[in-house]
Every structure is written in C-alpha cells, then in structure tokens.
Symmetry: C2
Subunit: 289 residues, 2 copies
C-alpha cells in the first residue's frame, strides 16, 4: 500500500522530469544528466503527499512539486564541485563536473536553480496568484542564504562545526531541513490547507529531515551505504561531528526512534488520511541506503 502510493507520486514526478526538454548541447545534456533517473525524489513525493493530506489533487501540481527536485539537483551538482565537497561520484555514476567539466557543472546548477523559479511562476488555474507568490517566496527563502545555501556554507566553510549537537543540528536544519520543510509547506499551500495544517506539516517535515540526517549518519558508520568511489568507512563524515560520534551508535538509534515517534505524533489530527506520511517516516528510519 505504502509502496504503491510512493510509486504513484514518484512516477508522476519521473514522468514530468523526463519530459523536460532542454537544448541539445553540452549545457542541456549536463542538466539532464543530473536530473533524470536519479534519486528517491523524496522532496516532490513529500510535497505531493502533503497536497493530498489537506484534500488537494496531487496530479494538478506535479510541475510545482518537481521544481523542488530541480533545486535539490542543482545543490548536489554544486556541492560535488572540487572547491566544495570534491566528490567524483554521485548516485553510482560520475558526478556532473567529472562528466562535463567544472564550467558546465557550475552553469548547469545555475540553470536548474533559475529554471525552478520559471516553473513555479507558470500560471495555475486552481490556485490564486497570491498563493503562488507566497510559494515562490518560501521556496527562495528555504533555498537561499537563510536556508540551504546558508547551511552548505556553514558545513563547507566549517565555522560552526564545533563538536556538539546544537551545532550539527543547526547545519542540518538549514542544509537539508529547509528544503524538506519547504516541500511540505508548498504542498500544503497548493492543496488548500489551513494555516494550522501548514504548521503541522512544517513540524512533521522538520522532524522527518532530522530523522533523515540521523539515519544518514548511522548508515555511514555501519557501512551499508553503497558509496561508490570511496572505500566504505573512509567517508569524511566520520572525522566530523555526527550523531553516532556524539551519542554513540545506540544513542543515535534511540534519538532516531524518538524523532520518528514525534514526527508521527504531529500528524495524528489528520486521522486516517495520515497513513502515507506515517509510513514515510518509517521508510526514512528503516532504509538501508
């Protein structure tokens, strides 16, 4: 049931993203390369699920949900650059700059980010333009210096990497949390949710993002991750402050379980409608990669 629903959302996003047509040149190929056939699409899936939970029609807003994936993809391309995390591989294939060169990778990232706003500003017949402007504002804020880019700066430039829980939570809240929260909020707004519902889904997404990060850190330690291009166990995360480093592996697992429990609690008020998001929380906690 959960898998069927996930696949339904996932396929809507895949279909939309695969249908995007860029120029048939190096820039367009590079944009496509990182965008197509990659990843779990968890952000647009979350957005579509939040549309549905507040009573909207996910199918009407696949473009808007997918535009968040464009932002996520651009951030991965730029994060992988030699000046940043210097990753040669991403999702089992050469990273964008290894395949197309650094100049193209920088430009492809810029173009995907810019295009996401072009998509978010396309006319919609069932949502007021005021709401659309709000969505654009919230997306930009979540993706920019007060959100994702700010978190990436803290992480890469290292100012805030004191070895304590508050510091790493702050980094992850911005770096991965902000865009997950934006996905949920945008879904809730597009679906016609009340401010109360938007707030609840914000809480949920915030906890989901935290759970995601704790699980990521745990997976890095227990070495089940398929990190191609890096020997298992050599990931530089292990030299950084991570949840297992700070709490121990058992402590991190307990923190994960508590976070998932809290996430589920926040969405109780949706009644039976909440089953997908309940299971999405378990999915994040139980995944092996």
């Amino acid at each position: 049931m959960f898998k069927t629903q996930y696949d339904y959302y996932f396929n809507l996003v895949e279909q939309y993203i695969t249908g995007l047509v860029f120029n048939n040149d190096q820039l367009g190929s590079s944009m496509n390369y990182s965008l197509v056939g990659a990843g779990k699409r968890i952000r647009p899936v979350l957005a579509l699920a939040c549309i549905e939970i507040v009573g909207g029609q996910p199918k009407e807003f696949v473009r808007e949900a997918s535009s968040i994936e464009l932002i996520h993809t651009y951030s991965l391309i730029h994060d992988d650059l030699p000046a940043m995390d210097d990753d040669d591989f991403r999702r089992g294939k050469p990273s964008n700059h290894k395949k197309f060169g650094e100049a193209t990778a920088i430009l492809a990232g810029d173009a995907l980010l810019t295009y996401s706003f072009e998509l978010l500003a396309q006319p919609l017949s069932t949502v007021s333009p005021e709401k659309q402007l709000r969505i654009i504002r919230e997306t930009a804020q979540a993706a920019g210096w007060q959100g994702m880019v700010g978190g990436q700066a803290l992480d890469t430039l290292g100012d805030a990497l004191d070895c304590n829980l508050d510091a790493i939570q702050q980094v992850h809240k911005l770096k991965t949390g902000a865009l997950l929260i934006a996905s949920a909020r945008i879904g809730a707004i597009l679906g016609g949710g009340t401010e109360k519902e938007i707030d609840i889904l914000t809480q949920y997404a915030s906890l989901l993002g935290l759970a995601f990060q704790i699980k990521d850190d745990i997976l890095d330690v227990i070495g089940q991750r398929d990190v191609i291009g890096k020997p298992v166990g050599s990931d530089e995360r292990q030299q950084k402050a991570t949840y297992p480093v700070l709490l121990g592996l058992e402590g991190a697992q307990r923190h994960l379980d508590e976070t998932i429990a809290k996430a589920k609690e926040t969405i109780q008020s949706f009644g039976e409608m909440n089953s997908f998001l309940l299971q999405l929380a378990d999915y994040v906690a139980d995944r092996n990669s």
Copy 2:
C-alpha cells in the same frame, strides 16, 4: 540633466542595495562584497527609466529593479571563477573567489540568484500578482538556460565561437542582451505599459545591449579600459571573434553608430518622455570605460 536623472535612479538603487542585510558571516560578507559599491547599475537604471517612460512611479519598484542587479552580480561572481573566465580582478578589486575562496564564491552566487527571486515575489500593492508572476517568469527565462546562462555556456564552452558575426551576436544576445531586455520589460510591465510599449522597449534594450557589446569590444582594442590585473592589450578577447576583429575598428565604430541610431528611432513614439533613454544610448556609445 541626463546625469541628474541617472544619478537619481542610481542612488535609489544604491540606497536599496546598501540597505540589504545578510548574515554577519563569510557567506554574507562575500555577498555584500560583490554587491555593494560596484558598477554603473545600468540594468536597474534601465528598468527604472522604463517604468517612468510608460507613466509609472520608479520609486515604488526599486526593490524589483535592484533584484536584477543581484542576478547580474551573481553572474559576474560565477563567471570570474577559475573554471570559467578565471579572472583575479573585477571592478578594480580582487574578484570574489580571490577574496573569499572558491567555495564561498560559488555559494554567494547561488545565494544572490536565489534571493533575487525572493525579492521579486514580495507583495506589491500597486501591481497585480498576475503581473508579478509574469515578471518572475520573464526574469527567470532571461537569466537561465534560454538566456544568460545559455550565452555564458556558448561563450565559455566555445561551441559557437566560429569567427563570424552571427555567432558572436548570438552569444552576446544571450549573455548580456537577455538580462538587459528583461530589465526594460520588467520596468515597462511594472510601470503599467501597454503590450505595444513593452515591445518597443524590448527592441530598444536589445539594440542597447548590442551597442554595449560593440563598444566593449572597441574599448578593449583601443586600450582605454582600466583592466586592473591584466596588462592593457593582453585581454583574451583579442584572440576571440570580436566586432573590431571581424569589421575592423572603423567598421565596428560604424556598426555602433548605426545601432545607436536604430535604438533611438525605436523610442520616437514616446515623444518628449524619451529624452533619458535617448541620452542613455549616447552614454553607452560614448563611455570610455
């Protein structure tokens, strides 16, 4: 009179941009460094002038005009990166990555681009949200793979650099023309211009952009440019196809004069209101740097 008017627009933009507050960290400092006290602000000035020529109030839309300058600034930061044009200096001071490092420069560019859309999506009381969405769409299109980034890709990756006029016009039309055109269109739309007026100002801005580029190429050859960090005459443009290379210096000057004359002709229908834009065309043609 022209200078007074230019200074008026310029100061509105300077005041707005100087008032932007980012975090007091490396990312925020880097964003500020490239944004503040730099350049002629020709894009926002053009936008403000186009608001006024169609009968709108420039003072009401300084934020929107300035957001174009954020996009321009991000593009300069990324263009200067080692993987791109590899410029150590910009406007008489070390380029962003020389001052803050490559990682910060990449992120500062990303953040400025993202923030420009956050600013463009702020509520406006005198313009319909439909029009605002149109402005965001047009800006994103002009800045992205179909516009500025596309032009930068052609220029950097060199696919289209055959030594002929059509090829270099195509590059410049995208790389510098698209954002100038967007500035004029956004001004005309915000100011309440008719579709006819928007079209005319599109034509004007397109010719202004062409003139700008021809003059740039001429200045590079006659060596009056204050290119700090590079010996005069060593600019790599001279190995590339430029207007003086293709047309000779006199031919390029003639092409510039014709382009300026055409630009002025397009705005005849505005009557006396057009004096600033007429003089702006002369300013672009006559500048020495």
